[in-house]
Symmetry: C2
């Protein structure tokens, strides 16, 4: 298939596909002549993944490139490739160091990790960028005077622990060679699912309580 057909079948403009090729998000097609190239189904699939990550998952283009290169890094085992890909995803800036709210956040999050048996040797833990994002968010809430200690965090942690089990069950059903891509796609694309369901649930619950009808 030529670039124009790839564009039509994916719904992505040829200009944008050319941009992705330049940025290394897509392998170049097989050259037919000096000015033409041939693309296959795997290009279409990859393009759809790229589009989903960028548009639905809001992953920046440069980050997408890193994530994709981790997908194909044969020198790593499955867990490491998933880890590298997920760590490349965007995270909040680290919190200010000398700040009482940050101190509180560190303390509460540390207590949370004691109560769960999450293990830093598996990649969760203070060394992970997600841990930094968590600290930043907890510190910001603390600074604004909203409660955000272990007791408030635990229900969230328990909920996502359960969800991660069912999610990894899903990932495990895929054959080896598709598993890392599945893990990344599900990690990124279930984020908007989770957030929109949460907003819908909150809107509904807020209506139950604060609406007079």
């Amino acid at each position: 298939m030529k670039l124009a057909e790839l564009s039509e079948r994916s719904g992505v403009s040829t200009a944008t596909i050319k941009y992705y090729l330049r940025e290394g998000l897509l392998q170049p097609g097989r050259r037919i002549t000096a000015t033409q190239a041939e693309y296959g189904e795997e290009h279409l699939r990859r393009l759809r993944l790229v589009r989903a990550l960028i548009q639905v998952g809001r992953v920046p283009v440069s980050t997408t490139r890193e994530v994709l290169s981790a997908l194909g890094d044969d020198s790593l085992d499955q867990h490491s490739r998933i880890g590298v890909a997920v760590q490349a995803l965007p995270h909040a800036p680290l919190p200010a160091e000398d700040d009482p709210a940050t101190e509180h956040a560190r303390h509460e999050v540390a207590k949370l990790f004691e109560r769960l048996d999450w293990d830093d040797s598996r990649g969760s833990g203070p060394s992970s960028p997600s841990y930094g994002t968590l600290l930043t968010a907890v510190a910001a809430l603390t600074r604004l005077g909203y409660p955000c200690g272990v007791e408030e965090l635990l229900p969230y942690a328990r909920a996502v622990s359960q969800l991660s089990v069912t999610e990894l069950d899903l990932v495990a059903r895929f054959p080896d060679e598709e598993r890392v891509e599945a893990a990344v796609a599900l990690t990124v694309l279930y984020e908007p699912v989770l957030l929109s369901l949460r907003r819908l649930a909150e809107t509904d619950e807020s209506g139950r309580r604060f609406m007079n009808t």
Copy 2:
């Protein structure tokens, strides 16, 4: 307090504060002389909220302005103000209309809503922007061949339903005049908490399964 002190106590540069003033995210200070203004504690508090929404919650500046104006709209009741503020938050683009994946998404999400008793009259439901975001994400997953039907969505929906109850319990503890701000702050700032905990949980679970030690 003068602008310089406001800057120091909030950790936001004077240039940025001036930018927020111009953008209407902050009320102008009380004018002392022709070239000086006085700011109070409520300016500091508002500034911290703005910073948290923009930096931690990744809410765009223009959206933040809309959210803040909904906070102070006395013509609406609490539920409506929360609703307006949350609807102003960023959402994914609506999915393509004439697409089998979108059709599938509509169908599955409709089935999901039948199983929960979420009510469109309360603001959740097809008319809500979050509903559109959900459709887009489900359609993208479907297009990539990942399972994303009622059975997969239900655990997520149940989890966030529970969380929304505890969260609204928290909101209800605040006095009336602080309640809407609390609802918005908690909605936005718990998003990174939820997402980072999910990534940590997944990393941990992936380690348990796919790591050889």
